[in-house]
Each structure stands twice: as structure tokens, then as C-alpha cells.
Symmetry: C2
Subunit: 359 residues, 2 copies
Amino acid sequence: MESLSVALGSRSYPIHIGAGLIDQRALYAPHVRGSAAIITNEVVAPLYLTRVRSALEGSGARVAQVVVGDGEQAKGWGTLDRVIDALLAARLGRDGLIVALGGGVVGDLAGFAAAVYQRGVAFLQVPTTLLAQVDSSVGGKTAINHARGKNLIGAFHQPCAVITDVATLDTLPDRELRAGLAEVIKHGAALDAPLFDWLERNIEKLLARDRGALMYAVRRSCELKAAVVSQDEREAGMRALLNFGHTFGHAIETATGFGPWLHGEAVAAGMVMAAGLSARAGILAARDAQRIEALVTRAGLPTRAPKLAPERWRELIALDKKSAGGRVRFVLLEGVGRAKVEAGVDERLVDEAIAAAAQ
Amino acid sequence: MESLSVALGSRSYPIHIGAGLIDQRALYAPHVRGSAAIITNEVVAPLYLTRVRSALEGSGARVAQVVVGDGEQAKGWGTLDRVIDALLAARLGRDGLIVALGGGVVGDLAGFAAAVYQRGVAFLQVPTTLLAQVDSSVGGKTAINHARGKNLIGAFHQPCAVITDVATLDTLPDRELRAGLAEVIKHGAALDAPLFDWLERNIEKLLARDRGALMYAVRRSCELKAAVVSQDEREAGMRALLNFGHTFGHAIETATGFGPWLHGEAVAAGMVMAAGLSARAGILAARDAQRIEALVTRAGLPTRAPKLAPERWRELIALDKKSAGGRVRFVLLEGVGRAKVEAGVDERLVDEAIAAAAQ
């Protein structure tokens, strides 16, 4: 087991990474003060719920559980209301612990429930997808979707710990594994050229679920993300760089109704679009944009966006949370591993990048 | 105009108190960065919306507005969803400002919308009821109600400023004025014997809307609350004392379906019950419990609770957010101005206090 720390003063927390961690009572015990509620989904529950429940009960918790539907559709008001109702029925107190067991959707939903239940209770992340392990379980962003757009309702609410069991990736469907790789590629493309180089050499190993390669990808991603979050918890500055590919990606998810595209797939196509826009804007070498598209392709991820009317694209992009003073701010690349936020992008270039990327 | 400060480090904020403040652009201008959205209700809108809108526009803001229904019923998922949708339709960005114009319901709802809209935007309180001016606009507690209980979904989200215009009390219905006095009495009873003494001498002046007396009551209440919030923002300790009367009060509101009883009315009866319980528990002199009941009576507020089955009372009280480790913690009085949190109250005494208070 390796442990990293997200340094946030009195709210600092550990990320434990290893195989077989979900059964280790000692990792849960420091966070149990009374009752706990596990929030998971119908796919993960049969695989891991009993094991996590046992570990929590072994740590002295009274344990309730809430099982929600699978997929991005579960991240809405309706499911949140059902979760809150179940927490109240279970009499979870303000000293209770909410445990998110699952992927990014469960983590975002459970984290937001923890942020607003009785004005905030502790929560613990137990990510079981690659996407959640390398990205969404770390950093305290929680949210639900709104019909108008992705993650538009949410809160910053840091977990008290992240227990990342890479052995749970053994049961992950291939498509979800690839979707998780999109966020690893993002970390390399936006922040860390050596990671990107490593991915170019090791992408096949990752696709073959080589445990050592997966451990490295998870650990390096968590290191990068922890460093960014420690410096800019609330995304006042550099944290926005982690949104590379997400302005276009969220637009794809919203346009397609949260479901047909996995988040990582939309981000993959979004990164290719953002790299293309960076090249059009003259700040990224065409060769580097091609490297990004090539790696996305080798990871088995989409490089093209669905066809939408130009006005619909503009409308969706305008909803991006990074917009300020009515202007959309894009995360562009100046090179592999060197992202920057750019507010003054010519709308014509954006239209061209979209036209080039649409299927 | 007098200005106090709620000292919370980098999140400190001013409370401005005076007559005619809602028109003063200079009080809004420091908080405007782009667009603003005023959230108010159908009763307050015809009285003050245009004036606040003008002041904001004069400060350079593009201004949107959302008008919700009157009363506690508006503090639910349905209204929140409508508010969020209106903010999105108005393209309020993360640099936008939400302005709560109204009483406690509007402040709690708008504050919670500000806490979760795009993971949090700034908000400004412009309280127009006595209850909001002396209590709910200060301290960053935001929430909506759940069918199972009051304020069960919410967040701590401090405003960037509170603009308290005591002239707006001129249009406040008598019943709402009295409801606000309940929270002033609470501040005296729980924290400040001299304020309680002053109220015993000046309650008629307050009921007659003497502006000087109202200014004093508002200022002293805000001073007390600001001091408590500065020391214990998240209610880990002494802030719980401000909930004197609220365990029973929230039970009354939930039992009656959020509406027939104003919040202040429920707190008034709740204070009489909590003082009665304190006397039964042997920590408050019967004479002091009588002083509290007498002042509540003179303020024209209810001293008796609705009749409910004892099991229903127990169920409602168990939902209290102050409960810890499955035990309800009551805020009791050791004397006028000296509240304390008590976890080990004999359930038989609670039943007796309820029986004595029920109509």
C-alpha cells in the first residue's frame, strides 16, 4: 500500500492505494464515529457492498445502505432526494459518515449528499472505477447534473480519506477502463509531459490491466491532482487546467442527454477538440495535437464529437462554469504537459475546431 | 448607519444597519463583478424589488430576478429547482452575485442556491423582516426543508455582506414583527441577561415599532450572533446555544406542515417548553422560567404547543440536527442569559415538559 496526502491544512486527507484495501478495517476505523451509510449503485453492490459493509461494521459502525441506478442519469434531483430520504430514515446524525462506493457518478452524488445533508457530514471515497481512482475521488468536487448542463449544482466538499483498491479494477468493463484512461491522458497532456511519454510507451499494458502499470497510472495521477488541489482548492486559478477537454466534453454529454457517452469518452473527444483548437490558435504545434489524437485513438477512445448545429454548440459551451464576465475561458495547450487558460479565443476558430471534430 | 463585522478571517463580512440603506449603491458596489440575480418573494417584490434593482444596476450589474411564493412552503426542492433553472437561463456565471431580498425563507433558500449553484457563488443578504434582520441573515446557515423535518438539507455559506434597512420594517405585518421578536428574546434568554432585562422594559416600544428601540434590538442581536459565529462558524460548540427553543420549535413546524406556524411563533412556544424542561431538570429556577413565559406572552407570541401524540413528539425530536451518537441534545437554561447544551436529559422529564406545554 502507498499513501499520499492532499495537503489542505486541517482538512488534509490521505489517499491509500493498493490491492485488497477495501477489506482493511484499519483504513475505515479512524473515520467512524457512530453510524455510516454506504451509497453505491446496482452494478457495484453485488460485487463489493458486503465487503465494505463488513469492514465498516468491524470498525464499530452501525451501517445503512442506499443503492442507486447505474450511469450518469442517476446524478439528478430525483436520486438525490431519494438518497437524502434514506439517510433520514436511517437516522444518520451529523456525526455520521457517508461512504461512496463506486465510480464517478456515485462519488459525485454521494459527496454532494454529504455536503448538504444536515449542512454537511463526513464522507469517505471508495472508488471502484479507473476514472474515479485517477480523478474524481480526489479533490472534493461534488455535483449533480441539471437538464441544462453537467455538474451545474454542487459543492466543494473534501472527503476525509480515499481508499483506492486497484484490485476492484479486475471487474471493470473494458469500456469503463478506457474511459478512465482518458483522465490519465488528460493529466499527462495538461500537466506532465513525462507521464504523457510514459503513456505512449505503456498504453497497451494498461489496456491489458497490468497491475503494476495501473498502480503507476493511479499513483501518478493522484500525485498530480493532489498537488493542484492543495494549491487551488476552489479553482480560482491553476485547478482549471484539470478541465482540459471538459468544456467540449461536457457539451457532448449534455447534448446527448447524459448516458450514451461515458464521461471519459466525452473528455477524450473534448481533448482532441481542445488540442485542435490550440493548434488553430497557433499556440500548439500541429505535431503535438497529433500526438494527443494518436494516444486517444490507441486507448480505444473516440476522437470525434457528435454532429450538432453550430448554435447548439455555442449555447452548450456558454454554460461552462469557467466562463467569467460572459466570456468562455478555454483550457488550451502550449505544448504536451503545458496547459493554460485562455479567455480571448476567436469564436471563428472555435467554430472551425468544432466543424473539424464533428462526425 | 452602523456597521458591525462578522470576523471569519478572509471570509469576514460587514453588517450594515440603518434606515434607507437598500437604495445606497455604495453598499452594493464592492460586491458586484458582473451579473447579479435578486431572489425575492411575491409579497416583498412589489415593495422593494425595483429599488434594490436600481441600486444594483447603478453599481454596474446586469440584473436578473426570481420571484418565489411566500412562506415556509417555498423552502423545498421544487422552488430550489425553479430558482436554479432561472439562474441558468439568466446565464449567471461563477462570478455572479445572488441577492436575497426578503425574510428568513428567502434568505435560507437564496443562500442555499448560492451555495450549490455552480459549486458556489457570492451572495448578499438584504433582510426585510425583523426575524431575518436579528437572526437568519447573519451566520451563513442556509437550508431547505424536507418533508421529514426542517432545514435538513443545507450548507454553511457565508454572505459577502448584510444590508439591513430597518425602514423596511415599516411594511412588516404585526404578526411577522412579533415572530421576529421571538429571536430577540432568544438572544437575551440564551446569551445576554442585560438584553433580556432591556426587553422586559421595552417590549411595548418594540411592538409599537419605535425606530430607536428596533435599531437597538437589531444591533445588539447582530453583535451577539456575530460574536458566536466568529468563534464557532460550523456549530461544533457554542453556536448550538443559539438553537435555544429550536428543538421543540422545529418539531412544531414539521408536525404542522410548514405554514400555519411562523418560525418565530414555533420558537416562542419552543422556548417556553425548553425553559420548562430546564426547570423540571432542576437547573433553572422556576421564577426564571416564568420570566421567559411572561415576556413571550407580552410579545403576543404563543406559549403553548399543538397537541400531538407523545410518540410523534419523540420521533420529531429525534430528527434534531444536534443529536449525536443517537442521543438528542437539548439547549437548556441555567439562568436567564446562560444556556448550555445537555445530552443526558431524562426522557420522562421531556415527556412531562411536552405534556405541560401542549394545548
